[in-house]
């Protein structure tokens, strides 16, 4: 096992780098896009709510691979060249953002409605109330499920292997097909994924404990 690892060290590390890169990019953008669509779904405007709902239902219910293939195959035909890495990261971002939108929406809606009423009565605008009162409370409620989304995101980034995205899974396939050491190669790939996801898992648990230790809302 060790020799497979050291002989192909460069490829494993390159794969790890692409996997991390795609995950971090998608994490960043899916958080922003997901929060925007969460806010749209609870917007006072009906049109905004419907639009948000359609986006979420669409990307949540179409397989990630289909979304990714669309960007890898269809979009370049329209004259916009996209690398496998780009297509994979966009697919991951859109797919994950739909789940994040659901998680954040649920978090916001679990904040006592009295908080919004108090903030509005206090003279704040809807946006101020959201920003200073509702979202900070929603984020704390949202941390454990968001952590799960992020871990799923890292695992789902293996979709890049299908579109030549140079990620860990892609490199693993390559190494396995040249060395024929499939079991060992995929074991190493699995361990490398765990090296990313396990610390995330523990980090989330830690944050969750720390945040739920104080500032918790007293049930009336």
């Amino acid at each position: 096992m060790w020799t497979i690892f050291t002989n192909n060290f460069g490829m494993f590390m390159e794969g790890l780098g692409y996997t991390l890169g795609a995950s971090l990019l998608s994490l960043f953008f899916s958080l922003i896009i997901g929060t925007i669509f969460a806010l749209l779904q609870i917007n006072p405007s009906r049109t905004a709510r419907i639009f948000g709902r359609i986006y979420v239902e669409f990307f949540r219910n179409v397989p990630l691979l289909v979304i990714t293939m669309f960007f890898y195959v269809v979009i370049p035909r329209l004259g916009i060249p996209l690398s496998g890495f780009a297509a994979g990261s966009i697919g991951l971002t859109l797919y994950t953002s739909a789940f994040i939108a659901e998680t954040v929406r649920a978090g916001i809606q679990s904040v006592d409605p009295g908080q919004m009423e108090a903030a509005r009565s206090n003279g704040m605008t809807y946006v101020q109330a959201m920003r200073y009162i509702i979202l900070p409370q929603a984020i704390k409620i949202t941390v454990p499920p968001l952590g799960n989304q992020f871990i799923n995101l890292v695992k789902n980034s293996s979709v890049l292997a299908f579109v030549a995205g140079f990620d860990l899974m892609y490199q693993g396939n390559l190494i396995a097909s040249t060395t024929f050491e499939t079991t060992t190669t995929y074991a190493i790939v699995g361990i490398l994924y765990l090296i990313i996801t396990l610390p995330m898992s523990y980090g989330m648990t830690y944050l969750d404990h720390r945040w739920s230790g104080r500032n918790t809302r007293e049930e009336a």
Partner: protein, 245 residues
Amino acid sequence: MSMIEFHDVEKYYGKFHALYHINLTVEKGEVVTIIGPSGSGKSTLLRTINGLERISSGQLIVNNFDLADKKTDMNRTRKNVGMVFQHFNLYANKSVLDNITLGPRLVLKESKDKAEEEARALLDLVGLSEKAKSMPNQLSGGQQQRIAIARSLAMKPQAILFDEPTSALDPEMIGDVLNVMKKIAEQGMTMIVVTHEMGFAEEVGDRVVFMDNGHILEDSKDVRSFFEKPKDERAQEFLSKVINH
């Protein structure tokens, strides 16, 4: 000039008729108490005044703003009218001090120093100076409600609405909250108070309004004789029930 004027106001929730032709005028500095059975529309009435609910028809003028007019900026109206809720609704993610200073800083654009100086004076007024750094969930219900009152006072409102401010409190805490409210009333604040505390209504109120099933059935400036014997039959029935309990 009147502070709050309802003219033939109707309020529907969908098909449900919650307020029937409400006519009510509250003068500056007046303390009006609203009593009546649960579900009679007391909260709805209060909530229309600060725009948490829109009226369906009629005219509602608060501090010279016409709230029925879609062009009226509700945020500007709300700045001038505070509200104290049954369940306090302190901002759970903010300290006591921040609960009080947030509105003045964000909405009135006060400096941090000025807002905090004023907040400390208000904490003194409600008798909770030592709690500035506490989080809401570290306070008793009565303390939370006094902070909520301080928070609404910090906006220097033209009027404060109280929706059953003592209904969620243990009996031994009610007195502290009522005392603070009495102090504010004595300073000349315009107040509308939905309450089941008949003693407070009689002692502090300038006027008492009885509501049932979305109607104002009695509106009396002679508070003492109202509590001796209301003119309206249902008010008599309601009072005899509350007082005998």
